[in-house]
Subunit: 143 residues, 2 copies
Amino acid sequence: MLRLGTDMTRKSLDTFLSLYLAPKGVKMVVLVRTDLQMGKGKVAAQVAHAAVSAVLEVMEGRREWRAWLEQWLSEGQPKVVLKVTSQSELIERCRKASSAGLPCVEIRDAGRTQVEPNTLTCVAIGPGPEELIDSITGDLKLL
Amino acid sequence: MLRLGTDMTRKSLDTFLSLYLAPKGVKMVVLVRTDLQMGKGKVAAQVAHAAVSAVLEVMEGRREWRAWLEQWLSEGQPKVVLKVTSQSELIERCRKASSAGLPCVEIRDAGRTQVEPNTLTCVAIGPGPEELIDSITGDLKLL
């Protein structure tokens, strides 16, 4: 993450402002594992779990997260569901998101149906600045 | 909804207690229209929207709703996605849920993809007592 400092250039200050403080748009993405071959209803329930958990976590989180959440809610909660093909990819994207200062919540399933208990099924990244989220997940395909 | 009164029988008091004040289990159900033929990712995003909206509305709602929400969160947010085949059925189930004292949130899509703007896509009922929700949606099939 960029840090404000005496040697910060005008350009890096612009980047900092547009990425973190006054983003043009905010969104949430939820990454879902396709290798688990969950049914439509199961996927929907997992994605909903991720979205609710992300919102609750962000509410208690740092100030910029709460500002993004407010903007996201006022803009109609835009969210996009993307696919990944393995658990390791899910973990790696979440790690990158966290390093970039974005909220990321991992969802593990209780495993009563369709998957083994404690299986990592999906992650929610955001709500956060669109540009920043795209830099981490922009190459992934829509589910 | 049952009301406490001087002529309330022991049995109706028991029903009142178990249904509203100390439910055995709580859950959320999200009803999704299958007649719109939305894709997997689209359905997941709509269901997530419904779940987040329900949680936010309930947080500002009446005391029993907030108690159900707390119980639901502490029990791992159990949620079930069910299908209905038309808009009128969605509206009718939501009306019944509201009459029974349950939270119900209707989700309309902005309509940028797959459906017409302002289409009613799904409703979230709950979080609320399992027994009470089942009395309204128990006959619907899993998505």
